[in-house]
Assembly symmetry: C2
Homo-oligomer: 471 residues x 2
Amino acid sequence: MDDVAVITPRSNDFPRWYQDVIEKAELADNGPVRGSMVIRPYGYALWERMQADIDARIKAAGAVNAYFPLFIPESYLRREAEHVEGFSPELAVVTHGGGKELAEPVVVRPTSETVIGEYMAKWTQSYRDLPLLLNQWANVVRWELRPRLFLRTSEFLWQEGHTAHADEADAAAYARRIALEVYRDFMVSMLALPVFVGAKTRKERFAGATNTMTCEGMMGDGKALQMATSHELGQNFARAFDIDFLGADGGRHLAWTTSWGSSTRMIGGLIMAHGDDNGLRIPPALAPTQVIVLPVRDDEAVVAKAREITDALTAAGVRVSLDARPGLSFGRRVTDAELKGIPVRVEIGPRDLAAGNVTLARRDTGEKHPAPLTEVATRVPALLDDVQATIYAQALELREARTADVTSLADAVEAAGTGFARLPWRLVGEDGEARLAEESVTVRCLQTPDGELPSADTDDADLVCIVARAY
Amino acid sequence: MDDVAVITPRSNDFPRWYQDVIEKAELADNGPVRGSMVIRPYGYALWERMQADIDARIKAAGAVNAYFPLFIPESYLRREAEHVEGFSPELAVVTHGGGKELAEPVVVRPTSETVIGEYMAKWTQSYRDLPLLLNQWANVVRWELRPRLFLRTSEFLWQEGHTAHADEADAAAYARRIALEVYRDFMVSMLALPVFVGAKTRKERFAGATNTMTCEGMMGDGKALQMATSHELGQNFARAFDIDFLGADGGRHLAWTTSWGSSTRMIGGLIMAHGDDNGLRIPPALAPTQVIVLPVRDDEAVVAKAREITDALTAAGVRVSLDARPGLSFGRRVTDAELKGIPVRVEIGPRDLAAGNVTLARRDTGEKHPAPLTEVATRVPALLDDVQATIYAQALELREARTADVTSLADAVEAAGTGFARLPWRLVGEDGEARLAEESVTVRCLQTPDGELPSADTDDADLVCIVARAY
């Protein structure tokens, strides 16, 4: 067990607080090669819960999983001009294999549009083969000069979806569906995180995309984090990789492709959106452990009752565990549960036992109240729902308090000091975007006036933009 | 849809049959870089089912998942002498990252004992931190000169477990538990594959292990396939990486470690153990699709009834899908279901409908019989159990018919022409092992006279060995 010292307060030094939480909650360590990361069991348990939910949503959207190789011939990346330009500086290159220098060096995938494009071309003969809806769970490598655990690591884990469609409208509708029904809905319902869903500006698009949709979350320090993206790739990759098909009309046509991804970066977002000075706060829907049962003392009758409560909660479908570690004080076990962000603690001591009670403690608000032993298994599920709703409401409240409607670039920059600014896109434009960049402020996304994700028929003149400093 | 030609009969050319099945059942393709592999959706669905079951077994054995980096400093591999010698010829080496030559090249993990050892040392302070039971699901790279889809690919997917224990007995018991309760039980109950579980000879051990346990399956051509292994690593890696701890006695001690793995190679074993001249035969417990419902004709009433049956089977907990693809003849859809090894087909035509019947067709035996429409949902689950038991019984029967008890090396070599030979290990020994190798025959494992996995107290003089040609 590591030493659990107090963590740096958020208000003192947010980046340091972030590192402290990762270390003390045992989420991750720096890897041995610069920029790499070891995801520790508790961090990985969060990722497994994210994976399971996102995977189910992807399958519900009709895509199937497959697996493409880690190593990509360098020549593949060169086939799409913007793509190679975007990724070249970040590539890791294998020059030796099996004890010999390779005839052609291979790159470690930074993303898989190219290699998947090659196989889509092979598998797509006629319009009956479309849409082709693929996804993979994989590691990717992008060499990082300024790495940061979970947020920017040289290797990260993600899912990357890749689809091919017979026409542009179908591709656009699918990429949009993923942005909304997979990513936004996952973030709202599992991560308890409100996100602005919008389109990236031309400058901020994925390398090779004709449209990039994004989910942007606000972190506890008011900065933005891009949580997931979904791209329309037009016919750019279809052209580069000859993904064509025999249409119902008897002619050959180029397909329209999309790609979309979400990664272990979301764990960074989870930490920064909901964490407080005591550590993580994990929304119950996501939490690997929703409830921890803590006997106040190492007393036989108390521990036996605590075990009984644990069993009753398990039977009620709650993800619960008992922490009766000998040699660790009650206070230390509470601190550990708080650090790890366990949503609810059930605390029980000899006095509670005598009174037929336990204490229910909420991680979100810090509230504690007694509950009759006989009602624990029925009360806790409702309490977990309330914690989930409260964490979401708190994040929404923060975002609303810190999002300012402004009408000038100067005011936008000022607002970005503490949060987001929203203003008409026509007041910014590509020139304004460049000027904001000088202040380290970026356009996070473009939305309709109602705050919705724009579609092809949204008039550009009506768009509003969300600007912020970002991770 | 690819062209579904007849596949090469197994008896003509087993390796060619294997390739044909992989291609026609759409399991995998060769990747663009020599030795790499694209796992297509149906192949990946098999892997997902394997993963889910093995992951649950690993968790039941108390291990937790984590994730360690893909890139390992070259120097780590050099710390354990046998390990570096074993893996050096297979390494892929990254020399350039982020547009620059790296100061120290990094290797792409061929396995993770070294990097995990480094972190185990960091996380292990006292005996209270042990046992440390970790697992990861990951890709690994071993450069292959003679690649073969699923069996030997330069990159493959696997789980690798790594544990550290306070004493030798605990490490040995855990490695043994994994070999039996995770691997053997998975292979028997999910893959319907009887396996010989035994110890590897000194020559065949994992590089750096003091004991390697293996599960060996017999393929349809009588050759052996090593399906999974579990290793005791003694204190070799603990010494190389300083995994030590403060004991209850107040002194510092080196830990005892284990590692164990199973990979996408098992898909190759599944194909070769159960496949026949019509394609795959997937055991129902594993099958992503257990039942396929086939309307004989594109007739509205028939298709409606087929849909009703599909829904009823889904409600009964069966993994079922409807294949009513227009433009594909009934015969073609049957061929496709057979290629993919779907355990049971429910066929329904206008005549069946009129008679209130369907036809139930088993993939394992080829038997077909009518069943009343009203009983489909109750009969199919029992039928699936019977198919599972039959596939296992067939594999066991093959193995028993083709395993000969012999008493000389010459007879062992002859028996290995068609299957396995079993003989006293004292008649073979390290000299005999070298002579067998000249005939491309290897000792697959050592067992007790009762066919059990030997333990530390098994007398070497009592051991029997299983010898065979192997993949």
